[in-house]
């Protein structure tokens, strides 16, 4: 059974853990460097990216996360987690893990009054869909969400928003979503991530 860590510094980590456990995966909270032992993948949840970033620096977690990513293990950032994984943010400064070749704009859709739900098209989810789910739109919840404004050559956009912005992307074993699959009942994104974990187990070295 895969062992997935969920960064538990601040934010919606329990929601991810619940979805993972519902998929019969071992899910553990990660707060300190010692918690990385034996992880097959890591989720960086939504929350406040400055809070999680500062705590990650103080408690020495930036390097272990980079090491995990460099070793080819699957890492997924949602919302604030996406910001932390990006190499560049458009304005302001904050600690970043900086493993994905993305430029992001924080609060790319506005403040809370502009937070929204929408059905988006994510063709890649068909690889983990049951026959009756094929082609089904994904109901995405965007909360003060970031927007991916540009991606490097090795990054695949998994979903474009209506106005052309990117809201989900993949770079090898790294996944980023601007929205919150953990706040819905649709587990396809978690299944997609677990498929990435399974693929990385075939190729990555020991950490």
């Amino acid at each position: 059974m895969s062992r997935i860590g969920v960064l538990a510094l601040q934010g919606a980590f329990i929601e991810h853990i619940k979805v993972l456990r519902s998929l019969d995966v071992e899910a553990v909270e990660v707060r300190l460097p010692r918690d990385f032992e034996g992880l097959d993948g890591l989720i960086i949840p939504g929350g406040e990216s400055t809070t999680a970033g500062k705590l990650a620096v103080t408690y020495g977690l930036i390097e272990p996360i980079k090491k995990l990513a460099d070793a080819g293990k699957a890492v997924w950032g949602t919302c604030a987690g996406l910001i932390l994984m990006a190499k560049r943010i458009e304005e302001g400064e904050q600690p970043l893990i900086g493993v994905m070749d993305l430029a992001v704009q924080r609060n790319g859709f506005g403040r809370q009054v502009d937070s929204f739900e929408a059905d988006i098209s994510v063709p890649a989810l068909d690889t983990v869909s049951e026959p009756n789910e094929k082609g089904r739109l994904f109901h995405a919840v965007f909360i003060r969400a970031p927007l991916i404004v540009s991606v490097g050559a090795g990054v695949e956009a998994l979903s474009h928003f209506a106005d052309g912005g990117i809201v989900a992307a993949r770079q090898g074993s790294l996944l980023a979503t601007a929205f919150h699959p953990e706040l819905t009942d649709d587990a396809r994104f978690h299944r997609y991530f677990l498929k990435m974990v399974a693929e990385s187990e075939g190729t990555s070295g020991a950490v």
């Binding site: 538990a8 510094l9 601040q10 934010g11 919606a12 980590f13 329990i14 929601e15 707060r31 939504g46 929350g47 406040e48 400055t50 809070t51 500062k54 705590l55 103080t58 919302c79 604030a80 302001g92 924080r106 609060n107 403040r111 809370q112 009054v113 502009d114 937070s115 929204f116 739900e117 929408a118 059905d119 988006i120 919840v141 965007f142 909360i143 003060r144 928003f161 209506a162 919150h180 706040l183």
Partner: protein, 295 residues
Amino acid sequence: MEKETGTETVKRGLAQMLKGGVIMDVVTPEHAVIAEDAGACAVMALERVPADIRAQGGVARMSDPELILQIIDAVTIPVMAKCRIGHFVEAQVLQALGVDFLDESEVLTPADEEHHIDKQAFKIPFVCGCRNLGEALRRIGEGAAMIRTKGEAGTGNVVEAVRHARAVMGEIRRLQHMAPEEWMAAAKEMGAPYELVLETAQLGRLPVVNFAAGGLATPADAAMMMQLGLDGVFVGSGIFKSSDPPHRAKAIVEAVTHYNDPGIIAEISKGLGEAMPGLEISEIPDAELLAQRGW
């Protein structure tokens, strides 16, 4: 594709993103920056911290919109602001300013002693105070997307926060052990909507995020509230009325993350200087107790 804004999911969702974090009262943009640098997950913009409201007396109202806008400009984290209980126009004004979250707060002087705001009518989420489960479920019934236990703001004394947190958590545990036919009687007794009583019993927790508030002053206070089962903490006067706000703020943030690790809490509690001076609750005249405002 159609965007749906102001839904219950996005309102409650922002509260979910604040979990495991510290929301700090700030009265200037400089305070807001200190709070953000310390790792606050949001700031509460107000003109006076509760300790000063308590000391100065008089009617406490919504803050000057100019101050709120300056604080919004100073930080990237969510900005909350307080309106008076029942004062729906203050709430409309704060929503129009771009505030991310509203606190219908007993710390300000109530504008309506019988009615709280119809929070369903707003696009931004509300947090409301409670002293027990019935009060929490009444506020959720009105549309609150987040609850905080009231404690006694501006005292630096955690005893009321503990009392209210234990009341809510204990009543939830009691519901969980009831036979289904007892839930309606419990709803009647608590004065709470039956559907929410049922949902709470089945979830084993409030249907929305629940933070602690009112009198927290130290990292250990914050970690204690987390161990009691709350989702995060508000710290009002406790930071900027202490002798070293930046360090105390950072230590409280770390204590909330590592609330189950006494070794870390010991380490971060060292050398923080003086905590805010505290007040003995029994020495406060009844009429000056903030927690009894609202119902």
